[in-house]
């Protein structure tokens, strides 16, 4: 890695497919550091906060690796952070997934189970859905790293969604069944997306490209 370049860290806490995220950056010609080392994380200039699986299990892993409070510290330092899927959900106050769990509380709101009617709607929600701009925050959307995603399809795989208490942070929503749920948020230096940009073809790749440009 070139020392004069800004570094992007991908937080490794034992969950999820980190290779696909680092491969996506590789495709952009950007070196990334996959790490769980607190010093390396803090020294980075931007952080990808991924995650799949269960909210509670993820919290436990973060606490075990001394990353829970470190993440809060990182976010407070105003460096860019991108939370993906569970990584986005963990930014919120709490979750009702398999019990009650406390999140990072960076953004006020709760993680709740998608209420869908079966048949025909299934859970987990797995598929490619269009991104709808949250029109109240149009300007914020247009200035964000997901600005090019309006009406683009992105890949979703989840059973829970975030109920955001403060609508000023909402960038975009997505429709599934009878639900219109928040699929992208931004608060200061932190962006969270429910979909997987690293798994959503060229349009998704552009989100990561924008993230890199935002840092540099």
């Amino acid at each position: 890695m070139r020392p004069n370049k800004k570094t992007i860290a991908i937080l490794d806490y034992g969950l999820g497919n980190l290779r696909s995220i680092s491969n996506a950056f590789k495709k952009l010609g950007v070196d990334v550091l996959v790490t769980s080392n607190p010093t390396e994380v803090m020294a980075s200039n931007g952080l990808i906060f991924p995650g799949v699986g269960a909210f509670g299990a993820a919290c436990n892993e973060l606490i075990k690796l001394n990353l829970f409070s470190l993440l809060k510290e990182y976010i407070n330092s105003r460096k860019p952070v991108l939370g993906i899927c569970l990584g986005m959900q963990l930014l919120f106050t709490d979750s009702e997934e398999n019990g009650y769990h406390i999140g990072l509380d960076v953004i006020k709101g709760s993680v709740k189970k998608l209420a869908v009617t079966f048949p025909p709607y299934k859970l987990p929600h797995i598929g490619w859905n269009r991104i709808n701009v949250y029109s109240d925050n149009r300007k914020k959307f247009d200035e964000s790293i997901i600005k090019h995603l309006e009406q683009e399809h992105q890949y979703f795989i989840h059973s829970y969604y975030v109920q955001c208490d403060e609508s000023e942070h909402v960038l975009a929503t997505c429709d599934y069944g009878d639900n219109s749920f928040v699929c992208a948020v931004k608060k200061n230096n932190v962006v969270g997306v429910q979909f997987h940009p690293e798994k959503s073809g060229e349009a998704g790749l552009k989100v990561l490209k924008e993230f890199v440009e935002y840092i540099e």
Binding site: K27, L123, W128, S200
Partner: protein, 248 residues
């Protein structure tokens, strides 16, 4: 509806058979996967066609290479039987793990993978053969019967924590004679997790016939793509015309 390209792999070649037998070489797995990705496939499934028979898995290096170029979800299946196998597959770059034989032999394996990596990671693979007026689940690529009734097994797999069901009709597989619609309908209506319909697609009429009866969350295609019967873009156009939500 997702359109998934399924690549059955044997000894580093994509192969295709009929009823999962009489395997014929089609091409290089990485080249084909990239081709289908660029054509607009929504996901790729790699299946090791002989792994569970010989107790090995050679797909990992293929997956490692594939996910450098392919920015869509990748599922790997065939012969994965331990938590170590699952970990290796995920580290290689797979997003989801398809499990058939190992689940039949020890159903708790599904729960263990789901607990550790989440249900979204677990694709329960069922190979269904019609016996009289019901379906029985098979393992080892349709070679060995299990005595399990497919409907009961699908419900059990959901309860164990599977996030999706890949439902392959051994009878229709490779025939290009159309889906086993009554099979897909009965499972799709019985479970609340997504069902991927696999086996038998040959023409756009087959999609139409399927969708008139039941709408699975995804279709997995092999022969249609391998033998250039219809490009993915045309398939998606047809699905769109049937008012389905597809990514274009």
């Amino acid at each position: 509806m997702r359109v998934i390209a399924r690549l059955d792999v044997k000894n580093e070649f994509v192969i295709k058979g009929i009823h999962l037998e009489g395997l014929r070489k089609i091409g290089d797995p990485n080249e084909l996967a990239l081709q289908y990705y660029l054509q607009g496939a929504d996901e790729i499934i790699f299946m090791d066609a002989v792994a569970s028979l010989y107790d090995r898995n050679n797909l990992f290096s293929i997956i490692r290479k594939a996910c450098e170029d392919i920015l869509i979800p990748i599922t790997i299946g065939g012969g994965l039987r331990t938590m170590e196998d699952v970990k290796t597959a995920l580290l290689a770059g797979a997003d989801k793990i398809a499990i058939n034989t190992a689940a039949v032999k020890r159903p708790a394996f599904i729960s263990e993978v789901a607990e550790k990596y989440g249900s979204q990671c677990v694709v329960a693979s069922i190979e269904a053969k019609k016996i009289g007026n019901h379906w029985e689940a098979y393992i080892d690529n349709g070679r060995e019967k299990t005595g399990l009734e497919v409907l009961d097994w699908a419900i059990k797999l959901q309860a164990l924590g599977a996030g999706e069901i890949l439902l392959t009709s051994v009878d229709q597989e490779g025939t290009r004679q159309g889906f086993d619609i009554s099979l897909i309908k009965s499972i799709n209506e019985a479970v609340s997790i997504p069902v991927i319909a696999c086996g038998g697609a040959g023409t756009d009429l087959h999609f139409k016939q399927l969708i008139q009866e039941t709408c699975p969350s995804a279709i997995a295609l092999a022969s249609v793509l391998h033998y250039n019967l219809m490009p993915i873009s045309i398939i998606k156009e047809k699905l769109l015309a049937m008012k389905l939500q597809v990514r274009v």
